[in-house]
C-alpha cells in the first residue's frame, strides 16, 4: 500500500480528513453515499499525501463527487473528464488522478474519451458508477439500460441494446478492470484499494442503486439474500466457485463458460482458475459475458496487467531527447537553418 509519494509514518489520515465541508446533495438512500464513504476510507489507508489526490468528473449525479472530497477536484463538462485528467497527468505525473463518471457520462456522451484514455494506458483511476439510468435529467434510459426498459423517454420500452462497460474496457485493452457494487462496502474497498495501487489505467465499474429512477435494479444480483448464489467473487489463483454452499463452479463447454455442480464435475481441474494477470484479454472477456440470470455475475478484479504507461513514456521521450540533444537552447533554435545578416551600412544605400 504505497503511493507515488511517501510521507513519514505514522500515517496521519483518517476518513474525516477526506471529507469536504460541502453539504452532500444526493437523494437520501442514493448508492453514491456508500461509494463516497468507501472512497474516503480507502484513501485514508494510503500514504499518498492528500493534496496529491485529484478527482475529476463530468456531468451527472455521480459527477458531483469531487465537491465532497477534501482533495483537489474539478467538476468538468459532460463526458470530458478523461481528457482533462489526461492533460493533468501528462504534466503532473506525480499526482494520483481519479476520474468519476457514470453510465451516461462515460459510455454515451463521453464514450470516445473513455476508450482512448484506456487504450493509452494513462495512469488514471476511472470509476464508472453504473445505475443504468439517467438520474440528473430525471429518468431517461441510459446506454446500459436493458432493452425494453420503460422510462419517460421510452414509454413503449427502449429499443437500444445495452453496452457492457467491461467489454468496452477490455476492447480498449485497459490494464486494470474490475467490478463491484455499492451494497458491499467491504468488497468495494478492496477493489478501490487495488485500483489505487495499480500503475496504469484502472477501470472500475460500480453497480449503483438509483433510488428514485431505477430502484433496486441490482437487488436480484447483489441483494444480501441472493448475492452468494448470484455473484461469482473473483480471486486470483482460486477456482471459480460460488454459491451459499460453495458447491457450484464454472467450467468451459467448448468456448463458452457454463455452471456445473461440483459434485457432478468429473475432475476438479475442470473448474476454471482465476488468472487476473493473463496478458491476453480473452479470458477476461469471457467473464464479462456472464450475465444474470443465466450465469452468476463476476465481481472483483477481472484483469490486472503491467504495461508501460502513456505518462511514463511521455516523460521518457522528453528525457531521451534531452540526453540526445541536450537541454534546448532557445537562441540556437531561433537561429537554426539559414540566417543572414543585414548590416547598418547596407540600409543606407
Amino acid at each position: 500500500m504505497t503511493g507515488p509519494q511517501e510521507i513519514p509514518s505514522p500515517l496521519p489520515y483518517t476518513k474525516e480528513d477526506f471529507v469536504s465541508g460541502q453539504d452532500v446533495r444526493w437523494c437520501p438512500g442514493c448508492g453514491d453515499y456508500a461509494i463516497l464513504s468507501v472512497m474516503q476510507r480507502t484513501l485514508a489507508q494510503f500514504r499518498i499525501p492528500r493534496e496529491n489526490h485529484v478527482f475529476i468528473s463530468g456531468i451527472g449525479c455521480s459527477s458531483r463527487f469531487p465537491y465532497y472530497m477534501n482533495t483537489y477536484g474539478f467538476h468538468t463538462i459532460h463526458g470530458r473528464a478523461p481528457t482533462i485528467a489526461s492533460g493533468l497527468k501528462c504534466v503532473r505525473p506525480e499526482l494520483t488522478v481519479w476520474v468519476i463518471t457514470g453510465d451516461g457520462d462515460g459510455l454515451s456522451i463521453g464514450g470516445n474519451h473513455l476508450i482512448h484514455a484506456m487504450r493509452r494506458n494513462i495512469d488514471l483511476k476511472i470509476i464508472l458508477v453504473n445505475n443504468q439510468i439517467y438520474g440528473l435529467t430525471k429518468g431517461q434510459y441510459s446506454p446500459t439500460s436493458e432493452i425494453g426498459k420503460v422510462t419517460k423517454s421510452s414509454p413503449a420500452g427502449s429499443i437500444d441494446y445495452p453496452i457492457n462497460p467491461l467489454c468496452v474496457a477490455i476492447a480498449a485493452e485497459a490494464t486494470f478492470i474490475a467490478r463491484t457494487v455499492d451494497l458491499d462496502p467491504r468488497h468495494m474497498g478492496m477493489v478501490l484499494q487495488r485500483a489505487c495501487e495499480h500503475k496504469g489505467v484502472s477501470f472500475v465499474e460500480i453497480y449503483q442503486n438509483c433510488i428514485i429512477f431505477n430502484k433496486d435494479t441490482f437487488q436480484p444480483v447483489a441483494g444480501r439474500e441472493s448475492r452468494e448464489d448470484r455473484i461469482l467473487y473473483l480471486e486470483h489463483g482460486k477456482p471459480l466457485i460460488f454459491g451459499k454452499k460453495r458447491d457450484q463452479g464454472i467450467r468451459l463447454n467448448g468456448p463458452n463458460p457454463e455452471v456445473v455442480n461440483l459434485a457432478d464435475a468429473k475432475d476438479s481441474k475442470e473448474i476454471l482458475v482465476h488468472k487476473e494477470d493473463d496478458p491476453l484479454p480473452n479470458y477476461a472477456y469471457l467473464l464479462t459475458q456472464m450475465e444474470y440470470p443465466q450465469m452468476p455475475v463476476p465481481f472483483g478484479i477481472f484483469r490486472c496487467i503491467q504495461k508501460p504507461t502513456y505518462d511514463q513514456m511521455l516523460d521518457d521521450q522528453i528525457k531521451a531527447e534531452i540526453k540526445k540533444k541536450g537541454p534546448g537552447k532557445l537562441d540556437d533554435l531561433l537561429h537554426a537553418g539559414s540566417v543572414w545578416q543585414i548590416e547598418e551600412q547596407e540600409t543606407m544605400s
Binding site: 483537489y72 470530458r80 537562441d331 537553418g337 539559414s338 543585414i342 547596407e346
Partner: protein
Amino acid sequence: MKTENGEWKVGTTKKQLKEIDAVTIRFAGDSGDGMQLTGDQFTDTSALMGNDIATFPDFPAEIRAPAGTLPGVSSFQIQFSEHEIFTAGDSPNVLVTMNPAALKVNLADLVKGGTVVVNTDSFTEENLKKAGWKSNPLQDGTLKDYAVLEIPISTLNANALKGSPIKPTDADRCKNFFALGLMFWMYDRKLEFTVKWIEEKFAKKPELLQANATALKAGYNYGDISETIQARYVIRKARLAPGTYRKITGNEAIALGIVTAAHLTGKQVLYGSYPITPASSILHELALRKNFGIKTFQAEDEIAACGSALGAAFGGHIGITATSGPGLCLKSEMINLAVMAELPLVIIDVQRGGPSTGLPTKTEQGDLLQAMFGRNSDSPVPVIAASTPSNCYDFMIEAIRIAVTYMTPVFFLSDGYLASAAEPWSLPDVSKLPKIQIQHPQSSDGPFLPYVRNEQTLARPWAVPGTPGLEHRLGGLEKADRTGGVSYDPANHHKMVTLRREKVNRVADGIPPLEILGPKKGKLLVLGWGSTYGPIHAAVTELQKQGKQVSACHLHYMNPFPKNLSEILKSFNTILIPENNMGQLLLLIRGAFEGIHAVGFHLVTGQPFKIREIKEKIEELL
C-alpha cells in the same frame, strides 16, 4: 558536375543583365510536380541573397488529385524585391507552368505583357483535354498578349539525366529543379543554397543527389545558352533594418513563440491538438521540441485536445490547443469551462474558408465572431490576432502572457494565408524579452479562497494540485464569489457574470495604444485586422505617396479593443473595414461605437486581398 576543386561549375552568361526593383513569380503545376518545394527553394535563395520576400503558397485540399486536371493544380507565388514589400504581389510578372491545367488555372492572373514559361512536352492532346482547352493555347493566339517561353522542359531534363542510374520516372520528377535552375538564371540567383539543400536532403541517396543537382544546373545552363531567352534581371539586396534574419512562416512563428513562452514562464507546455488543416504543421514542429520541455498530445478529437490543455493548466502549466474553424466549433464547451473555472488556456485558430468543412487549404477571416461569441451565455474571452507571418511569434507570446496574467482562456487568431506564407524575420534577442511572471499561492491564512481576486487584474489565484492546505474544487457550475463554492444565488450570479466581463475588459490596461499610419484625423481611415495588414498597408502607403488623404490602423487586440480606438474612430468621417469575411469586425465596431460611419469591404474568395482592390475601394470613398 563538380570541378576538381569541388566548386559547382555553371555557365557565365554574356547576356545583358537588366536591373529591376521587384518581381513576382508564380510556379504552377500538378500537386505531384513539386511546386511548393520549388517555390520554397527560390524563396530561401532570395532571402539569403538579401531581398525582401513575401510568398503565397496555394494548393488544393486533395493530396494528389488526378494528374493533369484543374483541381490538382498547386501553385506558389513569390515576390522578391530590393525595397520593403508587404504582400506576395497582386499579379505575377512571370508564370512558370508545368502543364496545360496549370496554365488554364493561372493565366488570368498574369499581368498583361508578362512572361509565361511553358513546359511544351506536357501540351499533349490528352493533357489539353484534361485541362479543358478546346484548342492548343500555344497555337491559337490565347497567349498573344504575353511573352511566351516555350521550353521542352521534360525532354531537356531527360537529356541532362541520360546516363543517370535512376529510373526514368524518377528522372522526370527532377524537372521542377530544371525549371528552378532556369528561373535562377533569369533572376541571377546563386545556386549554392539549393545545391547545399539537395546535398543534405539526399545525403544517403547519392544517385538522387546527383540527378537533382544536375537538373538544377542544366536548367541554369539552358538559360545561359538558349537562343529563346534573352532577358535576364538583377534585383539588388533590400534595404531592410539591420539585424540577423531568417525566413519564417506564420505556423513556424507560432511554434517558436510557444517554445519561447515556455522559456519565459519557466513552465512546461502541453500542446493538445487534433490534426486539422491548416494548423497541423504547428503540431509537427512542436513534436520536435521535446528537449525544450514541450509535450505534445495528439488527442482523439478536438474536444479532447482542448480538454488536455485545460487539464495541464489546472496542473499549473501552459495549456495550448490549436485548430481551424470546424474544430473550434467542437471546443466551444471546453472553452466555456475555462471561462467559468478561470484557468489560463490558449486557443489557436488558424482560420480557413467555411462554413462547415469549407475550403480547408484556403484563407478566410470568418471566425472572429465565433471567437467572440461562439459559446453559451455571456462568456467574454480576450481575442488576439496576428497580422504577418513573423508577428505570429510576438502575439503568440502575448496571448500566453494575457492568459496567465488574467487567468482566462485567450484566442489567438491566425489564418491559412499567414500559416504558410513566408517573409524575412529579424530575430529577437531572447535575453532581452521580459520574463512572464507566474505565482502560485503556497499557503493560506485560514480557509483557502480560490475566487478572491487580484485588485488590479481581477485574476483569481492559480493554486495547483499538490500544494498542501489549498485543496479546492473547481467546476462548471456557477461559483460563489470569493469561496468558489457552488452557488445558485441570483445576486451572486449577476455579480460573477459582471466580474468575468470586467476582468477581460481590464486586459486593455496592459496593451499598447493603437498607432495610426498617416494623418491623425481626416476623411478616411482604413481599419484592418489579421492578415489583411499587407495589402492594406501597401495600398494606403502608395496612395499617401500620391498625396491622397487616407490613414490606416491595424488591430491586433480584437477583445478588448485598445483604449484609444474610440478616439481614433471619431477623428475620421468614414471608417473603411476590409475583411475576408462578410463584415464581422464591422459588426463589432458598429456595436461598440455609436455615431461612427463605418463601411465594410468584403472578399471571401479564399485568397488574400490584392493591393489594387483595396486601393480602388479607398479611391471610391475619397
